[in-house]
Symmetry: C6
Subunit: 275 residues, 6 copies
Amino acid sequence: DFQLALLEVKSAFGADQDSFESMVLNGIINWSPAVQSILTEGLLHAKQVKNSARTPLVSVLLEGPVGSGKTALAVKMALQAQEAGFPFVRLVSAEKLVGMTEAAKSSAIAKAFDDSYKSPLSVIIIDEIERLLDYAPIGPRFSNSVLQTLLVLAKRLPPTGRKLLIIATTSHANVVNSLGLEDAFDVRLTVPNLNKMDQVRTVLKEIDAFTEQEWRDYDKYTRTLPFFSTANPHIWIGIKKLLMLIEMAAQDESSKVVKFLSSLQDACGQMDTLG
Amino acid sequence: DFQLALLEVKSAFGADQDSFESMVLNGIINWSPAVQSILTEGLLHAKQVKNSARTPLVSVLLEGPVGSGKTALAVKMALQAQEAGFPFVRLVSAEKLVGMTEAAKSSAIAKAFDDSYKSPLSVIIIDEIERLLDYAPIGPRFSNSVLQTLLVLAKRLPPTGRKLLIIATTSHANVVNSLGLEDAFDVRLTVPNLNKMDQVRTVLKEIDAFTEQEWRDYDKYTRTLPFFSTANPHIWIGIKKLLMLIEMAAQDESSKVVKFLSSLQDACGQMDTLG
Amino acid sequence: DFQLALLEVKSAFGADQDSFESMVLNGIINWSPAVQSILTEGLLHAKQVKNSARTPLVSVLLEGPVGSGKTALAVKMALQAQEAGFPFVRLVSAEKLVGMTEAAKSSAIAKAFDDSYKSPLSVIIIDEIERLLDYAPIGPRFSNSVLQTLLVLAKRLPPTGRKLLIIATTSHANVVNSLGLEDAFDVRLTVPNLNKMDQVRTVLKEIDAFTEQEWRDYDKYTRTLPFFSTANPHIWIGIKKLLMLIEMAAQDESSKVVKFLSSLQDACGQMDTLG
Amino acid sequence: DFQLALLEVKSAFGADQDSFESMVLNGIINWSPAVQSILTEGLLHAKQVKNSARTPLVSVLLEGPVGSGKTALAVKMALQAQEAGFPFVRLVSAEKLVGMTEAAKSSAIAKAFDDSYKSPLSVIIIDEIERLLDYAPIGPRFSNSVLQTLLVLAKRLPPTGRKLLIIATTSHANVVNSLGLEDAFDVRLTVPNLNKMDQVRTVLKEIDAFTEQEWRDYDKYTRTLPFFSTANPHIWIGIKKLLMLIEMAAQDESSKVVKFLSSLQDACGQMDTLG
Amino acid sequence: DFQLALLEVKSAFGADQDSFESMVLNGIINWSPAVQSILTEGLLHAKQVKNSARTPLVSVLLEGPVGSGKTALAVKMALQAQEAGFPFVRLVSAEKLVGMTEAAKSSAIAKAFDDSYKSPLSVIIIDEIERLLDYAPIGPRFSNSVLQTLLVLAKRLPPTGRKLLIIATTSHANVVNSLGLEDAFDVRLTVPNLNKMDQVRTVLKEIDAFTEQEWRDYDKYTRTLPFFSTANPHIWIGIKKLLMLIEMAAQDESSKVVKFLSSLQDACGQMDTLG
Amino acid sequence: DFQLALLEVKSAFGADQDSFESMVLNGIINWSPAVQSILTEGLLHAKQVKNSARTPLVSVLLEGPVGSGKTALAVKMALQAQEAGFPFVRLVSAEKLVGMTEAAKSSAIAKAFDDSYKSPLSVIIIDEIERLLDYAPIGPRFSNSVLQTLLVLAKRLPPTGRKLLIIATTSHANVVNSLGLEDAFDVRLTVPNLNKMDQVRTVLKEIDAFTEQEWRDYDKYTRTLPFFSTANPHIWIGIKKLLMLIEMAAQDESSKVVKFLSSLQDACGQMDTLG
Ligand SMILES: Nc1ncnc2c1ncn2[C@@H]1O[C@H](COP(=O)(O)OP(=O)(O)OP(=O)(O)O)[C@@H](O)[C@H]1O
Ligand SMILES: Nc1ncnc2c1ncn2[C@@H]1O[C@H](COP(=O)(O)OP(=O)(O)OP(=O)(O)O)[C@@H](O)[C@H]1O
Ligand SMILES: Nc1ncnc2c1ncn2[C@@H]1O[C@H](COP(=O)(O)OP(=O)(O)OP(=O)(O)O)[C@@H](O)[C@H]1O
Ligand SMILES: Nc1ncnc2c1ncn2[C@@H]1O[C@H](COP(=O)(O)OP(=O)(O)OP(=O)(O)O)[C@@H](O)[C@H]1O
Ligand SMILES: Nc1ncnc2c1ncn2[C@@H]1O[C@H](COP(=O)(O)OP(=O)(O)OP(=O)(O)O)[C@@H](O)[C@H]1O
Ligand SMILES: Nc1ncnc2c1ncn2[C@@H]1O[C@H](COP(=O)(O)OP(=O)(O)OP(=O)(O)O)[C@@H](O)[C@H]1O
Ligand SMILES: [Mg+2]
Ligand SMILES: [Mg+2]
Ligand SMILES: [Mg+2]
Ligand SMILES: [Mg+2]
Ligand SMILES: [Mg+2]
Ligand SMILES: [Mg+2]
């Protein structure tokens, strides 16, 4: 019945495969060497799980600001592991658990782990821990039942002969720490925001945001306006928000570049005006 | 069965169409350029949703004082989008959910989103977030279950090929922020109160509040009484309350103008007496 | 079926009519011009609801000390409106909801509103908001479910063609405010306590409390004792408590006047002794 | 069916009659004029209820230290009223409600009131309010459901033609006040502790505590030992505890008097030793 | 059916008899006159209950440090009463209620009292009040339902003709007080820890802990080492812990005495080293 | 039916035997004399339980930092006891109770104790008390129902003729204390972290971590780099984490030693860089 288990595993995987695509909707743009090095480290841990007899379980936490690209990177890591021979990949995400009771959420999470034990090599993505925990900053409130489930499952060794890589994400690292989840992860990786106009330029180029004329305007503005000078340390934006700003500006055909730069400046919390 | 789904969508819409009218009971009076620019920006985002492949979901938050006209403007925006080709418009409002349990409210909200996914282009209005959350300032208390549902749904991408514009309103922007909902919206627009006697005059004119004689009295009083001088910065009233004051005064046939100005002054929190 | 609805409305009203009487058990004594002006303003708002197309819903809050006569005045206002053509009058009061769960209370309140929508013109009295809310000062504790129901219903427009006057009472105005209910009412009226011996005398006269001899004693004492001099600002008593004191004193046939004045002084929190 | 109702009332009363006896197990000893004056005032209010048309409901609160005799006095008052023509007397006490849910307790209390409405003249004793409220000082915790029930029922007028006297007791007057129950009672009476050796002597005499020889010892000790001198203000004990001390001492045949005085001194919190 | 009731009573008693033995597993060692005087006072109160008509209920609280022997002494007292003619003895202890809901616990306790009313003379032991209350110091948390049950039952008079002695134990006297249980007991007795090496010696002798050679060592060490000098006030240990230390040391055949003294010193919180 | 009970016991044990192996996955490495002395003391208490008539129950608490090897040592102790003649060994661990309600957890724990009473000699391991308690530092929150179950069961004597050794573990000794569990254990043992490079070396040798060449590099680096000098007091790592670091480094074939030392330094919270 291992064949059967594998089949089940495959179909479970297939079910998720679809949603994986929408989670990396805009691909992974290589706007900084940090992006590649996160993916490399992820692959290394997949190999450790596969090769070491002493550590059949490794858990990785991706932490970073809202919209920095954590979910996309976690999914990408899991797909890499899949290529490296992990037949089972499962995404545990609050999006699928909307409206469930605490008990149902806990049990859905536990089921993902139990399912994974059917495959010799598995990856489980736990996306947005704070959302799975129903965390609210006022109180604060959270589901202790889900918390305890995660505290136990993140450390529970798979049965003999099974191996598991856990990839979790959070934009509330402090919450994760203060709930005692910090000891539950073997490795922590930080996903950065963009903080240089060069990086912004790389993204704009990559997605072919402007016409030639617009590029000339863009270069003129960014060279002359003080806000965009290399000296200004105020650039601080996640890749997700940046892509949103580009698309908003794109609606304004006549003044796309000015609109983009102006809203980028707003988003970075600045009040200087454009010419 | 897409035909069927569309039918369902249409009828659901039809059901709401009726209540939309009572929500803009007194029309949209153009008492300031700000009114129009809010509606324009709303239309722009509807177009972004329709046109951009990279942002199939855009969420807008209308925030402003109690009675400033948020609900009327949100509904107006949705009707504009409807004209621009969004066949599905759904209003999510506490008025329909009175007395439901937290779980039932969460699930009614989730259903609105699931329904919207049947249409290629949809608008969802989420009116008075604080009321959906059962927010009470003492405690404070709120439905964490509804909060988590909103936190997830406001960011969840629709299925491939579906697109969604979310328009939410609140008069408790600080509550929305402190609950972590602030990161859930791509755009925030502020709906202002009236703060000039000129704007009040525009509204009175628009709804034909006075007879010619009354207008003469009105102009005399507002010109001579210090409270109504342009220098006085104390005018601060929402359009909804203003319309209420006009109607109250109207019962007092003999001294309509004095009654109106006196109660306007009270409402703006002033203690000067009229002649 | 409008006929039918009306019938239902009539009978519902009939059922309440009875309890209305006991709520104004001792009539409305005109001990101050303030009493009449509260009733007048109430009638004005009833007419506004009836006449204005722009304000199909008006909500009035009667606030005042414990025992100041709020319930009696609210009921009187509703009876005035009834005479002015409102066929539906409903009393929502904690006395009828004793021992219900929060959910049952919320739903009973919502039902009163739904019932009112069957009549073109309706009045709903919401007596003692703090009691409907199960408010307890320690905690503080209250039914958030009932609070949310009131917050929504007090502002929800009746269906097209229906009009509604809401009259609510509270002796905990500060609680009502701190729960955010203050924005839910269009008009606030304050019911005063008696604060002059002249007003007390008016009440005693009205209910024929004393024999001629007793009146002579009464006048002697109140003229000579410093506590009852017009200069003393300590008179502060609600009409309900005053009537209770009069009846207690009446048991003491031999020293009715002394007993009354002595207990009045106690009730006003004074320690001077009578001769 | 009034006959029937009365029958029911009688039997309900009969059921309680029995337990009334054990609640005044040791009779009412007249150790101070205050004892009689409390009973007199109780009777006065019974007559007011019976005679006045304006106050069909009067509520009295007996407050005093633990063991001061509140329950016995409340029951005595009710029995007086019974003799004065009140056919219905009901005791509401936590002793009968042990282990019930909050809802069941609320409903049992409400039932006592509903039952009382079947009789034209009724007395309801509400013994130990704090216990009915499940009050615990840590938290503090209490049953808000029972509290709201009491807040409403203590003020709800009986139906037309019915009259009701409420007698409640508490040894936690501060709790009663801070829960807002203080406005629910028309009259408050304070039950004192014994605070003079003369009063203690009256009790000892009344129950024939000592033999002649023992009385001689008693008088010698109390005259000579400073603790029992009239100047010492430390005597402070409830009648219930005093009776307990007398019975304990009675076991010690040989040194009854010394044992009694020694334990009285301990109970009054003193450390002086007896000869 | 009194015969029947008595039978039931007997069998209920029989059931407990067994567990009574294990609760005095190591007998009552007479290590101090205080031990005997506690038992004597217990017997005195049993007689009071039996003989006095005025106090059919007496309640005694045994308070003392963890492991001081409270449970053993309470059981011993109950067995004394049994010999003195109380046919019904019942032990109420958290050990039998493990895992029950609050309501089930309350009702089990109430049942013990109701059962006791079937016998003319009864003893109820309430062991470890804080455990019955599910008390946890963080919060603090406790079962208010059990608390209220105890508050009522500890003071409720048995039905006419029935008499009851209550013996309760606690090692958290402060908790008992702060929950208002302190007024529920008529008598409080304190169970002490051992605080002199002489007392320790009495225990060691009584249970024949050492061989002759070991006694010589013991006497040498305790005479010479400063920690065990009569001047040192640090001896402070409960009889239960002391017996545990003796048994642990007994495993270490070769150095029993040194091991015992060393661990006694540790247990008393001291850091001096043995030679 | 004792035979039957024993059979049951055996099979229950057999079921656990399997998971015991994975809990000592990497054996017990003798990196310090402390390791052996903990195991020795464990065996001593097993013998005490077996031999002493006065202490049929002994409870031991293993406390130590996260990852210090508590679970492995507790299991090892239990296996020692098994060899010494305890036929029943049961592991109570949160891993098996994931997602259960508080009541179900309490009852599973109680069942383990009831099962153990079927065998004359039993060992129960209670692994990670804080996890069984569903402890969360924010609040803090915990299952009071499980806490009370543990508080009672850890002290409840087994039935006559049965004997029990309890071995519990925790990495939150302060939590255990502040919940009042500290009085529930007879013995406390501390499991240390590694704090010397010599100890690290012993572990590396034991598991044959490096080739000869790598050992040469290792010795060079640790001798020359200041961080690894014997004077540096910053070495502080649990055996579990240390094994994880070794396996991670092993993936990096080319620079295994540098990688290991670098990550060891990081784990010990240091920022010095390697050559
Ligand atoms: N280098 C990159 N890293 C991550 N995402 C990228 C990168 N380049 C482009 N993207 C795109 O940016 C988006 C990142 O969104 P994603 O949902 O992963 O962010 P997030 O940090 O998970 O946001 P949130 O905090 O809201 O959960 C995706 O559409 C992804 O395709
Ligand atoms: N420019 C305007 N903007 C908004 N509403 C307007 C405008 N002109 C007239 N109105 C009318 O004013 C009223 C605004 O009420 P609305 O319920 O939208 O206010 P709101 O801010 O949502 O109030 P609340 O804070 O109580 O929810 C509506 O009747 C609407 O028809
Ligand atoms: N001018 C008056 N206004 C109000 N009530 C009056 C007046 N004159 C006499 N009364 C009588 O006084 C009593 C007022 O009691 P009512 O219950 O209305 O007071 P209340 O303020 O609602 O008390 P509570 O704060 O306890 O709810 C009624 O019996 C009413 O008939
Ligand atoms: N003058 C008196 N007043 C009240 N009780 C008296 C008096 N004289 C004798 N007694 C007896 O004293 C006892 C008083 O006990 P009671 O239960 O009434 O006190 P309590 O104040 O209600 O106590 P608790 O605070 O515990 O409820 C009764 O047995 C009663 O018969
Ligand atoms: N003088 C004594 N008093 C009480 N117990 C004694 C005495 N002498 C010997 N013992 C024995 O000491 C042990 C006391 O344990 P017991 O359980 O009664 O203590 P405890 O104070 O109830 O403990 P805990 O605080 O844990 O409930 C029993 O085994 C008892 O037989
Ligand atoms: N001397 C030792 N003591 C304990 N464990 C050792 C020892 N030597 C090697 N090990 C291995 O180290 C690991 C210790 O892990 P274990 O789960 O017991 O730690 P823990 O302290 O219980 O961790 P946690 O705090 O996460 O529960 C096991 O794989 C065990 O085989
Ligand atoms: Mg994400
Ligand atoms: Mg609105
Ligand atoms: Mg009222
Ligand atoms: Mg009493
Ligand atoms: Mg005990
Ligand atoms: Mg462990």
